[in-house]
Symmetry: C2
Amino acid sequence: MAQHSLERLNVILIGSGNVATNIGIALQDAEAEITQVYSQDVANAKILARTLAKKSKASKPKVLTNLSKIDKRPSLIIIAVKDSAIEGIVKQLNVNDGIVVHTSGNVSLDVLKKFNQYGVLYPLQTFSKGRITDFSNVPMCIEGSDVSTLQSLMTVAESLSDCVYNLNSKQRAGAHLAAVFANNFTNHIYAVAEKLLNEQKLPFDLIRPLIDETAVKVMDISPAAAQTGPAIRKDNNVMKSHLVNLKKHPELKKMYALFSAEILKTAKKKIK
Amino acid sequence: MAQHSLERLNVILIGSGNVATNIGIALQDAEAEITQVYSQDVANAKILARTLAKKSKASKPKVLTNLSKIDKRPSLIIIAVKDSAIEGIVKQLNVNDGIVVHTSGNVSLDVLKKFNQYGVLYPLQTFSKGRITDFSNVPMCIEGSDVSTLQSLMTVAESLSDCVYNLNSKQRAGAHLAAVFANNFTNHIYAVAEKLLNEQKLPFDLIRPLIDETAVKVMDISPAAAQTGPAIRKDNNVMKSHLVNLKKHPELKKMYALFSAEILKTAKKKIK
């Protein structure tokens, strides 16, 4: 569990979505003080300020309605908005003190270069507002404009999480891409499985234990070592009958063929 | 937890792989007696017999070297071999008593029709010999040649697991296909993510918490509701930059484009 305290850290949160909400709660838990909250959607900013006030003994963060009214002496300004909105926020934001960071996996550090000290705090996890995330095992990917900034961000990240990684922008983009596969595409596969079950009037419950076990397996071993199924066994009869069963779904046939070919290629490499 | 006892159930196991090993252990835990074990690979049959003997107070199962020497009065004969080997086993197997079942997700019930009583016990889970599976939450998909056989198999399945489903052969094939997506293809996606991370000299540990959370989310909610990411947000800039990052991997670009298009299609359906 992360152990350091962020007492005396004065944080301004820009954004009111899943990341802003979860990182705000985690920072407060580490005893940082969220002094101001800004969102293009004022109603959402108010909800976030109330949520943070409820979870803390500290005073309620002020809701900013205009970025020109920002506290000029913050320790840390966190821009946790969608990627396409970061540049617009940067344009409106005029501060000389403190460190300005964004939380994006895919946006370069350079977008923040007009500030004196800047960096990235990218929590590599999927967040929901309704589900408070325990940050202690969320990988925090950090980047800083200079050594002193990086050290400060390291302190912040280590106060939140036991897994802190110092990544440059290119590595972060690679990690984000891997995350899109491991999260978005995996979840879509679950949705495909649900659709195939529903066609047979079967509940999704039938494969929930399998989904759980598939994920649990790779907590210890490499997925390359965990691969099973007809493709890696080169069981052509089973694969053929699966493709017949998918005849109503040309896009799923394409997906099936692509995956099977790729899994088979991996198997061949192993044999060599 | 499954509660019934299978005392007095006399079981012959044909096969010595991951399914045979795990179902054998689970049956013994439910107090069934495994009397004989057969495998085309005698050495493997011996290992399984020893494993079962170690885990039980009952006497060590006999290793059969020839299927003609099978006990003619078993209660249950379980054929747990790879799909393509089932027919060959059926040809060699001459018994009049007891119930003969296979454990395949993809093979029709009819392959067993030469026997008097026959059925299917398909445990919908991924198994390894080195990892003993708790059967109590393994979905057991059963099918029987007649009502009385189905009832007997229901008793066996309910002794092993709390989740028993009565599926016909077509439904079982649908469930197996869904399982290939949810397990084999999902695991391959994990392997792709590992490859992308390794290219950036990053450890797989970086996305293990994300993989865990992605699977945990759909334990309660539908994957259709859990979908996030650039595709469902229609964030074209992020998707374009991801495709640029994949330029060295034409097959992964294809996979990325296919998934993004499918996720987007789902999003459009939601809006309608």
